[in-house]
Amino acid sequence: MTKDPILKAKNIVKYFYDPATFKALNEVSFVAYKGEFLTLMGKSGCGKSTLLYCISTMDTKYEGELVLNDKLVTGLSPNKMAQIRNEYIGFVFQFHYLLPEFTCLKNVMIPALKLNKLSHQEIEERAYQKLEILGLKDQAHKQANKLSGGQQQRVSIARALINDPAIILCDEPTGNLDSKNTQIVFDIFKQLASENGQTIIAVTHDNDFAKASDRTIEMADGKIIG
């Protein structure tokens, strides 16, 4: 199987200025391939989350270049970046971060409604589909804050999937979950990467989780060490 690069980070340098100037990322370069399940590991403060947010396009204050799908993303306007996030990138956070006053279904639908490429009805069908994949179809009409943590995390994964993004970025996706839910989430990621060809990049502290992924990038002191 040939490896198509989907995301390239070139010499990313990132400083933090508060409270004191600190080089969080020191010329980090790496390539993520299509259909790859990639984990980022390292000790607290090694820069892995910083790197994740740089490649997420939400953090724009870095030096270096970020190429997504053969297109240079660095330096685009904030609105353009928002559009790229909407269409090509899905997010899963440690704290599930759903919109509490909306139903699960609505939460899943919102990124697609924003993208505005399908009709409302088609989007609703897709949202049901994604919830079904994650075993939550029966919870669709419950308000998001009425669900358990594990369920909320799965809803947020469904939300990340709704626009079929090329890349799914995860910040400690299993950090708040018990082993059973961790296993469920892991299996879903594995399946997404192998069957849909979507790229997963996950920051994790969980050694077992990382070992079972396709590739693990280890970081220390703002550099990739292996």
Binding site: S56, P111, H120
Partner: protein, 410 residues
């Protein structure tokens, strides 16, 4: 049509925060309601005082202005001057060729009505009591048409002057002072020394002491007789226009047709106007302040909403909403609160106007002079919405500037 997701989010926020929305709306409602009420009050008073002015004053008067002689007159020798006491020249108050001038004025598109009359000072006498006053010699039917005088007649009618050449119409105050009744005779003398005994054929009450106690109406020919003048003698032209507020401009246009003094009512009633202005400014500024305080309420509520929802804003930005979307969402929430509040405020204002307009004040005022004025409703609505949008913009702008990374990394 696809409903915009921004609208859907704003709508859900509003629905799930009914109490906060309601409180904000009530704040706006009170502001807009009081604004509307106070401005209606002010406008009602202005209308009342204006109507009062036009009971006896025309929008524009044309008359001969008193001329004052100059103190230094060059002598024919050109080397010396005659020094004179400056004084009012004893010139006739007669307008020359009044019919032609009247016709010219009547032909102006902005003139509704115009008439000619003689005005002069008189003494009213009955027995040994004597009162000073003024008489107007005029075609009473035309005058009544112009000033709606029939409305103020409490005895007799304006038409009776036509039927009775030696009749006079006087004010209620004068009748009371001289113990006169309908049908009684009243002796009137002019400065020219002409004395007439006239029969009272009508009594009016205009609610204005200077009119009710000192004014009488006689036939034009009697007036001319009392001034010992010819049959075409006229001292004043009264002109009513389509819009009294533009009387000044109209007066300027009329100046080109005549050398006589053309005076708009704003000049003759300057003190009334300045009282109106003071009232409008005072009430306007107080009510606007209340409205602005209400806007701060909206600002506060939106600011706290945004602080509570800072995580949600970060998520929205992460999943692809840009700053403009975030501003739209929160401005829309402000707009919804504003529209609900403004609508409630208009109802509140209408209720207050309704109650107050039913209060009977008595006397010539009658019911409290306050009216439902559509332009004021519209103005209150538009102003309410504008102020609320301004109050909503700053919190919304703050929301748009939220940096999602800093929220997620906490």
């Amino acid at each position: 049509m696809k409903k915009s997701v921004n609208i859907e989010i704003a709508y859900t926020h509003i629905i799930t925060r009914k109490t906060a929305t309601f409180i904000a709306a009530v704040g706006v409602a009170i502001g807009v309601g009081v604004y509307l009420f106070m401005n209606s009050l002010s406008s009602g008073f202005t209308k009342f005082s204006r109507d009062n002015t036009f009971v006896s004053n025309a929008h524009i008067k044309v008359y001969v202005k008193d001329k004052i002689s100059s103190t230094i007159i060059p002598h024919s020798s050109k080397t010396s001057y005659i020094i004179n006491n400056s004084q009012i020249l004893d010139l006739s108050k007669k307008l020359y060729n009044p019919d032609q001038l009247l016709q010219t004025i009547k032909n102006q598109p902005f003139v509704i009505n115009a008439l000619s009359l003689v005005e002069y000072s008189v003494n009213f006498r009955r027995g040994s009591s004597e009162l000073k006053g003024s008489a107007v010699g005029v075609d009473m039917n035309e005058y009544a048409k112009m000033f709606n005088t029939n409305k103020y007649m409490i005895a007799g009618s304006t038409n009776s002057l036509k039927e009775n050449l030696l009749g006079v119409i006087i004010g209620q105050g004068l009748a009371k002072k001289l113990s006169l009744q309908m049908g009684d005779n009243l002796t009137i003398s002019s400065n020219e020394g002409v004395i007439q005994v006239l029969k009272i054929v009508g009594i009016f009450r205009m609610g204005n002491p200077s009119m009710d106690e000192g004014r009488c109406f006689v036939n034009l020919s009697i007036g001319r007789q009392m001034l010992k003048t010819s049959a075409d003698y006229v001292t004043t032209l009264y002109v009513n226009t389509v819009d009294p507020d533009k009387a000044e401009d109209y007066a300027k246009m009329l100046i080109s047709y005549t050398d006589y003094e053309v005076e708009n009512w704003q000049i003759s009633s300057a003190e009334l106007l300045s009282a109106d202005k003071t009232r409008i400014i005072m009430m306007g500024s107080i009510s606007l302040t209340i409205l602005i305080v209400a806007a701060f309420g909206i600002y506060n509520i939106l600011s706290s909403t945004i602080n509570q929802k800072i995580n949600d804003i970060a998520i929205l930005k992460a999943i692809g909403f840009n700053g403009t979307d975030v501003i739209k969402i929160f401005m829309l929430e402000a707009l919804i609160m504003g529209v609900i509040g403004t609508a409630m405020g208009l109802l509140l204002g209408a209720g207050l106007i309704g109650i107050v307009s039913n209060i009977y004040m008595g006397g010539p005022v009658g019911y409290f002079p306050i009216y439902f004025e559509f332009p004021l409703f519209l103005k209150s609505f538009i102003l309410g919405i504008i102020i609320i949008l301004c109050a909503g913009y700053f919190p919304a702008k703050n929301a748009a500037n939220v940096d999602p990374v800093s929220i997620f990394r906490k």
